[in-house]
Symmetry: C2
Subunit: 330 residues, 2 copies
DNA sequence: AAAGTTTATAAAAATAATTTGCATTCTTTT
DNA sequence: AAAAGAATGCAAATTATTTTTATAAACTTT
C-alpha cells in the first residue's frame, strides 16, 4: 500500500541510502541516477517536490481549475492547454469548482498533489482570492480570468479592448443605434467587455439604446431577440459578450424575417469554431487561446522553478484580442 | 513538507496512536472521530485508502481520462460528469491522454492518486486495454467507449442502434439512395454506427451509395459536401456520425443552393446544443449523457466499496439512444 | 594518469508509525 | 435507568522506516 524507499531502491536498482539522499535533495543532481530515482519514485506514486532538481527537466503536475460549463469554449480552452502542456513535459489535470462547497479548500488540497495551479474563476470576488492566498501561501498560482483588486498574478485577454473593437467596427459600419447582450454581470470580464463597448460609443457621441443580460447560452441569445422585438429602433449594431448568444440571437432574428447585417449588425466574442460554419458567418473578437496557454504555463513553470517567498506585487498581463471581420456587420 | 501522523493528530485533536489506528483500518469506523481523522488527513494531503470505512460516505477521487478534442461534445460530457459527481461526494479530475506517450503509464500513476478511473479512449485497441489491466490489476476501472474484445467493464451508448435508427427514419422518409459520413474508422464506435446504418439498409434492400470518412470536425463535413458534388444521384438520405460534421455538410449544402430535406436528408449524432439552434434544425440521435454519468459513477463507486479480486467477466452495458426528429428529414 | 569531485554503500543514528495494556467513554440490553 | 459489553482514547513500548555518517568506488578534469 504505502510506498517505501526500499521499493524505490529495489525497482531503480540503487540502495535505500542513495534513494533517501536523492529524495531529500542532498544530491547535486547532475547525474542520470538522480533522474532515474526520481522517475521511479514518481512511477510508484511516491510524491516529492522535485524543485531542487530543476535542471533535470522532470515532469511537472499542474492543475487547471475552472467553473466548467457545457460550452464549446471550455473544450477549446482545454485543448489549447492540453496541447501546449504536452510539449512542455507538463501533466495537466482539469478540475471544476462549479459545485465546490469551498474553492479555497479545493485549491488547498490540489496544492498538495500539484506543483502549480491555474485558476479560472470569473465569479470569484476579492475576498475569495484573498482567502485562497491566505490558505496556500506562496504556492505557485495564476489566474486566467480577470481578478478584481489585483490579488493574484493574472494573465488574461484584454476584454475592455475587445468591447472597444466591437464598438469601433459597428460605428464605422454606420450604425446609429446600438445594443448589447452582456454576459452575467457577476463575471468581471462581462463588465469589462461592456465598459469597453460603452466608453467608445460615448466618446463618439452615441449610447447603448438596448441592453439585455444573458447567461452565455444559445437560448439566452434567442430570448434576447424576443426581448428586442418590443424595441422599435431599426438598424441596431449589437455586441454580444460571446459567440453562443450572438448566434442564438442571429438565427432567431433570421427565422423571424430580420436581415443581417441590415436590421442588425452583430459582433460576437471568442471566435469559436462554429462561428465560421453557419451562414451568415459571424464577425467576432478573436482570443488566441494558444497564446494564453503558452504564457500561462511558462509563467507557472518559472514560479515553480524559482519559488518566491511571497506574492509581493501580483502583475496583470493583458493579452491582445483582434477583430475578425466576417458577414454580420456592414 | 511531508505529513506526519503527529500533524494530523494535532490538527484533529486526537493522539498519534488513535490517528495511526484509524489510518491503518483498525477502527470499526462507526464513530465521528474516524471521520474527523480521515478528513483531517485528507486535508493535510496524507493519502490513504479509506476503503475500509465505506459506511462513512467519505469523498472519493475519480479520474476521467479522455483523448480530448476541441469539440462541444467534450464540454457536454464533462458537464454531466461534473454535475452528477458533485451530488455523490465525488471529486472528479479530468485528464487527457491525447498526447500521452504511454496511456498505460499514465493510468498507472493516476491509479496511485485516485480511487477509480473512468476511461474514454476510442482509439485504444485490444492490446492497449490488456496492457492497462496487466499494469493496474484489480484497480477499479470502467470504459465509456466501446471496447473491442470485452477486456474492460464498459458502459456506453448503443452506437449500432443509433445507426439503425438513422437508417430507419431515412427509409421511412422515402429516400431511395443513401450516404454516410463516418467518423475516423480507427474509433470503434464510428464502425458500430456505420454497421447499424448499413445493416438496416441492406435488410430493406438498399445500400450505401456514397461514403466519406471524416474526422468529426465541422470542416470535414464541409469537405464531405465538396466530395459529394461529383456524385450525381439526387435526393440522398445521409447519416453523419456526429452533429458537427452533419452541420458542416448541411450549411455548406445550403450555401451552395441545395435544399434540405429535399436534395439531402441528414441525420446527425449526439444532439449537441447547437443542433437545435441553427435553421433548419437538425434531426439527430440523442445520447443521454446524464444517464451515462450516473451509471458509470455508480458502477465505479460500487467497485471501490466492494473491491473484486480480479476482473473475471467484464460486462458491457449498452445505454439506449433515441431519435430526435427535427427538420432535416422528410 | 593523478588529483579532485562526486556518487554509492553498509552500518549507525534518528525519526516516525504501530501496537499494547489499561482507562475511559459510548451503546445496548434488560 | 443501570449494568454489561463494546468501542475508543491515551502513554509508553516496540517495531518500522528514513536519514546521516564514514568510507569506498567511480567518475572528471587537467
Amino acid at each position: 500500500m504505502k510506498v517505501k524507499l526500499e521499493e524505490i531502491a529495489k525497482k531503480s536498482g540503487y540502495s535505500v541510502a542513495t534513494v533517501s539522499r536523492v529524495l531529500t535533495g542532498k544530491s547535486k543532481g547532475r547525474s542520470q541516477s538522480v533522474r532515474n530515482i526520481l522517475l521511479t519514485a514518481r512511477d510508484l506514486g511516491y510524491r516529492t517536490s522535485s524543485v531542487r532538481y530543476t535542471n533535470l527537466d522532470l515532469p511537472v503536475d499542474i492543475a487547471l481549475i475552472t467553473q466548467h460549463d457545457a460550452e464549446e469554449f471550455y473544450s477549446c480552452l482545454y485543448e489549447s492547454f492540453d496541447r501546449i502542456a504536452s510539449k512542455k513535459n507538463i501533466h495537466l489535470s482539469i478540475h471544476s469548482a462549479k459545485y465546490s462547497k469551498s474553492i479555497t479548500e479545493q485549491i488547498h488540497i490540489l496544492s498538495k498533489y500539484n506543483d502549480g495551479v491555474i485558476l479560472m474563476a470569473p465569479t470569484l470576488d476579492k475576498e475569495g482570492y484573498k482567502n485562497i492566498i491566505a490558505k496556500i501561501g506562496s504556492f505557485p498560482i495564476i489566474s486566467i480570468a480577470p481578478v478584481d483588486g489585483n490579488i493574484v498574478p493574472t494573465i488574461t485577454f484584454d476584454s475592455y479592448e475587445g468591447g472597444r473593437l466591437a464598438a469601433e467596427i459597428l460605428v464605422d459600419s454606420d450604425y446609429q443605434n446600438f445594443g448589447i447582450i452582456t454576459g452575467p454581470l457577476e463575471k468581471l470580464e462581462a463588465n469589462l467587455r461592456r465598459n469597453g463597448f460603452q466608453d467608445y460609443l460615448r466618446k463618439k457621441g452615441y449610447k447603448i439604446n438596448w441592453e439585455y443580460q444573458g447567461n452565455y447560452s444559445f437560448s439566452s441569445g434567442e430570448i434576447a431577440f424576443e426581448n428586442i422585438k418590443k424595441h422599435k429602433k431599426s438598424s441596431l449594431g449589437i455586441f454580444s459578450s460571446n459567440d453562443q448568444m450572438a448566434l442564438g440571437f442571429l438565427h432567431t432574428a433570421l427565422e423571424n424575417g430580420a436581415t443581417v447585417p441590415g436590421d442588425f449588425g452583430i459582433i460576437g466574442y471568442d471566435n469559436m469554431p462554429y462561428s465560421k460554419v453557419f451562414y451568415p458567418k459571424l464577425s467576432t473578437i478573436n482570443t488566441n487561446l494558444d497564446l494564453l496557454a503558452k504564457n500561462t504555463l511558462e509563467y507557472i513553470i518559472r514560479e515553480i522553478k524559482i519559488p518566491q517567498k511571497s506574492i509581493t506585487n501580483p502583475t496583470t498581463t493583458l493579452l491582445p484580442v483582434e477583430l475578425i471581420k466576417r458577414r454580420t456587420h456592414k
